[in-house]
Amino acid sequence: MSMAARGVDAKKSVVEDANSLEFFEDFEQVSTVPLLLSEVEKILEARKDLQLREDPDAAMSAEFTKTLDYAQRFGHSRSYEADEALRSIMEELRTQTPDMEKRLHKFEEVQLINLAPETVEEAKALIPTLVRVDDDILENVLQQIMAFRSFAT
């Protein structure tokens, strides 16, 4: 195969797969931050407020509105402070886990908070890469996340 042909192939066959924690180019950069749905909600609310201040008559796009509705429905209605607290719980866990293999990936951290599984078994079914994490550590994280779940429906 010529160099050029291989170049094209490599571009097309980036194997993105959550089951092997392989993501798009740039994903592992520090500046790429997976977001909690509650964070998405706050970013979009701020964007909408800006739009309304600048032009009260301008409508947001249908996709924008759908995304905001989605984030509101599944974001667990958390406050900014609760988001920050969850982020620091994850940060702390990372610093307490010297074994890189067992450290949660930033994708897994956000999936755990967004999907909020209730048991270790459920967490490992929804996020299969968590099989490498010890049950007691995972159990502890799940309980901390659950403490921040809003009881509002």
């Binding site: 931050v33 977001l35 924008f64 989605y70 984030a71 429905r73 999907l115």
Partner: protein, 171 residues
Amino acid sequence: MFFKLTLEHDVLLPPRFLGPQLAESIRRKLYEDVESKCIGKHGYIVSVIEIVKIGEGEILVARGETLFPVTYRALVFRPVKNEVVDAIVSTVTKMGIFAEVGPLRVFIHFQWIPNMVFDDTANPPCFRTDDFAEKIQPEDSIRIRILGVRVQASSIAATGSLAGDFLGYAG
């Protein structure tokens, strides 16, 4: 999944914008150019979050416009194969269920809807278990696994599955 990313975009402005409101004009043009657009490499840009840097403008002699390289932070959505997501059911047909994950439309073929059958006598039509104990209809929340993603120049489409432990109707 939704991400915060650092991206770059060249903003082109005609000469009439080169006045005291320049920075403001660059910002508005950036929003107009990139929001609700799909960039194949990273995903769908839902919203610009902030401008990080506006580089030196360069006048394009042939066009008379000025080009400003802009670095910005954006809220981007990109589904990943095998990722589990919550979705909102939009339409139910005999071929399967269409659901939405923010800006993404996901199709779940009936072969990936275990233990349920299509019922077009129900109002609205739904997928349900034989004993009527469970059903999935428009506006319901469902938890699915993304099976495949097709990223195109202007859109992203995905297929999903309800087959698997802890997947299915979610409220």
